[in-house]
Amino acid sequence: MTTITQPKKAAAVNPLKLSSPLGASLAFLGLKGMIPLFHGSQGCTAFAKVILVRHFREAIPLSTTAMTEVSSILGGEDNVSTAILTLAEKAKPDVLGLLTTGLTETRGDDMQRILKTFRNQHPELDWLPIISVSTPDYKGAMEDGYAATVEQIVTTDYGTLAESEDSIPSLSSDRKARVTILAGSLLGPGDVEEVKAIVEAFGLTAVMVPDLSGSMDGHLDDGFNSVTTGGTTLDDLRRLGESSFTIAIGESMRKSAVALKQKFGTNYEVFPRLNGLQAMDRLVLRLSKIVHSRQDAHFVQPYEVPETFNRQRRQLQDAMLDTHFYFGRKRISLALEPDLLYQTSWLLHEMGAEIHAAVTTTKSPLLENLPIETVTIGDLEDFENLAVGSDLLIANSHGRAIAQRQNIPLYRMGYPIFDRFGNGHRCLTGYRGTVQFLMDLGNLFIEVEESQINH
């Protein structure tokens, strides 16, 4: 069992943690036709925007209720309603994501009431779903805000299909079983894409919630858009109840899976990680069980797995054999959010590496079960102190300064990564993503080794 420590420091030095509203906006950005609305001062949105733009190298639609000193004292009701009206008119979203910030939570704006009043006053906007989530900056980190938002996304009532007459044919023609995939913040757009492909290879329809692979995957659209052009559609959200199973990826997604179970009775399985051989085997087995369970009981057939996964699995085993020389006894230090920390550190452990130090941002049940004695909820200063003597650092781009000072190579993961391309595509999960991860790290180790030989 891992001990969790939290240094008693008054000042965080070189913060690792990102705010929970930032996580919330990221989750919202995985919905199609979305523009997230920060209920806070204009800076709350501007900072989030800058960080996401730099990470994804994309135009990111975000908006603000532009709270001022005066409205912070009198209450933000007018700002919220003006903002919604303006966005509905100008940005023409399919759905709005409304999130709070430290400012408006401290002042105590009652969002439920504000939205209720708004709905009463503006029945003309009844067509526009508004997903509201509470994300005070002073509570939790990015992963928490993301998770809370996904929970709101899956529990918000989008109304029954209003145009149900039209949608019946599409329902009946869509005979594939639907599976809801709750994609935790440990998955980037490339990972989401991979998971979707895996699920669909089984002949299932994957409903990714949220689906960053449609919106943040760095693709060129025609024309200008002030809302996301891809992601989970409103139609998908309305049909969540039709899914035959929920697969939650990342422990932080558990609550949302439970919520779906409560709302629709959908059974679920939580996958705290989706890299490495066994975790992936488990997913493949689960998917084949879902397919199996839908077969006619009179003609039961053995579990079937598409051939491609046998091949991918063998490729991964081969990659493990090839690279394991470079992983054995390597001391690796990680500074990542809990889900990503868990997934990455266990894989490294399974490859024979030692986890030298682990720093994370927020509480999670996963922290008690890491392949290291102590995990620190702290900042990059703690990380710098703990990482001394490692062979490799894994952190976001802010880790670069530490890597330079300590002359240790850095592998970039987490948010933000502003000095590497490809964050909209990189895939480090699934059999193939794990191969990629092992190759990336193996190459880093080779480079270090060769540079030492040359000396």
Partner: protein, 500 residues
């Protein structure tokens, strides 16, 4: 300095700012610049204050608030340092719910103690944020107590995000410097030609293109406010003979008040473009009224300009007649026009959103009668103007980078987060280089062309498909040739052209 409504109004109505100079009716729109709910958003006052102060390299910058303010923004700015790197460390009190219920003052005091003890900064700038302003933490009292206890200057910066725009934040930062820093130390010696540079933040090391020029003619930069500054030099700024405001109205209050308090006159200059750089040097010499200095300046300008003309010639040949749309704020809206003109580029449209009346008059003169001015700056608006004018390139801040790129339009970044230094004579070459690369990149044709199997596009291919019933190898070869033909020939490297 306690931050009161009156103080904010006073800063917004800053008399030195030409936004307000129209008699009777003041046009403060640009200074207020408060974002509207649901509209596009800019940075907040805290952001503005950070931009203005964080470049002080040997100071620690402590953000008193919940994680978002510092966690989402630290280490993202492009100010460079020639020495100390304390300013690059992100410090924040990272307030929790408990701190907010019971008040954050104790935590703040301890945080200052921790920073002073572990990092020995020359000073600590403490920034209030929306939450700590709202819960009423007494920043001044804590800073005063800590300064007394640790003998290190602890400077409160009252620029909570919700008080206003980035621009107001700049001014509030200026107030903090005036109240707590400027005039607190004496320089070892002074020279007759001591100047301060105000509002130049050494983005991408830009200032280093200019400082050698001053040095060559014998002008000493006493204090850089605040690019690559040391805390001590800002303390001594009151002994300068002239304040030179660079490309920014942002710290105008500082220049004006230093004139009032210390009798230091100020001029407003730009480092962008040959003409502007020449004018800047000339104006400084003129202000000092020293004949020898003027002579040295003229000599320098002559030699720099001659050298530059030679170096720019090949670029001018490639850039001449290109049409650009400029979208940026305030002074840059005209200073970049003049830089573009130096390269033979036509600025066909520019923004006047944050510009003062004086800026606008200058713009009109520079643009000529056909030039379009853009008042509102939504991305759609911008794209429309680009389409209308048939512009070849957009020059704008990083925030519009993807507006341009996603519309498959060449782009040059001129704001805060850029990685290239465009100031001074050296900067002109850099800018020419970047413009040339952007405009002549072989990618444009490729990213604009549709897939050959899509209907109604790529004429040569569509044509081939229709007549391609015979389907001989020769025809396939032809169609491939035509396919290649649709791609614009790759630009030749500029070095070769330079040799012509």
């Amino acid at each position: 300095m306690k931050l009161t409504r009156g103080k904010i109004t006073e800063l917004v109505n800053e008399p030195g700012c030409e936004h307000n100079s129209k008699e009777g009716q003041s046009n403060k729109k640009a200074c207020k610049q408060q974002a509207q709910p649901g509209a596009a958003q800019g940075g907040c006052a805290f952001d503005g204050a950070s931009i203005a102060l964080v470049p002080i390299t040997d100071a620690a910058h402590l953000v008193h608030g919940p994680i978002a303010c510092s966690g989402n923004s630290w280490g993202s700015r492009g100010s460079l340092s020639s020495g100390p790197v304390t300013y690059k460390t992100g410090f924040t009190t990272d307030l929790s719910e408990n701190d907010i219920i019971f008040g954050g003052e104790k935590r703040l005091y301890k945080a200052i103690a921790q920073i002073v003890k572990n990092h020995q900064p020359a000073a600590v700038f403490v920034y209030s944020t929306c939450v700590t302003a709202l819960i009423g933490d007494d920043l001044d009292a804590v800073c005063q107590a800590a300064a007394k206890k640790y003998g290190t200057p602890i400077i409160p910066v009252h620029a909570a995000g919700f008080v206003g725009s980035k621009n107001l934040g700049n001014r509030l930062a200026g107030e903090a410097l005036l109240d707590h820093v400027v005039g607190t130390a004496e320089p070892e010696y002074t020279t007759p030609f001591d100047i301060n540079l105000i509002g130049e933040y050494n983005i991408a090391g830009e200032m280093w293109n200019v400082l050698p020029l001053f040095e060559k003619v014998g002008i000493r930069v006493l204090a850089k406010i605040t690019g690559d500054a040391r805390y001590q030099e800002v303390c001594q700024a009151h002994r300068a003979k002239l304040n030179v405001m660079i490309c920014s109205k942002a710290l105008i209050n500082m220049a004006r008040k230093m004139e009032e308090q210390y009798d230091i006159p100020f001029i407003e200059e730009s480092f962008y473009g040959i003409d502007d750089m020449n004018r800047c040097l000339r104006n400084i010499a003129e202000k000092f009224g020293d004949a020898e200095l003027k002579q040295r300046v003229e000599k320098l300008i002559a030699s720099e300009n001659a050298a530059l003309d030679q170096k720019l010639a090949p670029y001018r040949a490639r850039l001449g007649g290109k049409r650009v749309v400029l979208y940026t704020g305030g002074v840059k809206s005209w200073s970049i026009i003049s830089a573009a003109k130096d390269l033979g580029i036509d600025v066909v449209a520019t923004s006047t959103k944050k510009s003062t009346e004086e800026d606008k008059a200058r713009i009109k003169k520079l643009l000529g009668k056909d030039g379009i001015t853009i008042e509102k700056g939504s991305p759609q608006e911008l794209l429309k103007v680009i389409e209308q004018t048939g512009a070849d390139l957009l020059i704008a801040g990083g925030r519009n980078q993807y507006t341009a790129l996603k519309a498959r339009i060449p782009f040059l970044d001129i704001n805060q987060e850029r990685h290239h230094a465009y100031a001074g004579y050296e900067g002109m070459i850099e800018m020419a280089k970047e413009l040339e690369e952007a405009l002549y990149s072989p990618i444009w044709q490729q990213v604009r062309c549709s897939a050959p199997w899509e209907v109604g596009i790529g004429e040569p291919i569509a044509g081939n498909r229709e007549q391609g019933t015979g389907n001989s190898d020769q025809e396939i070869a032809n169609s491939e040739k035509e396919l290649i033909g649709t791609v614009v020939p790759v630009a030749e490297p500029i070095a070769e052209i330079g040799g012509v």
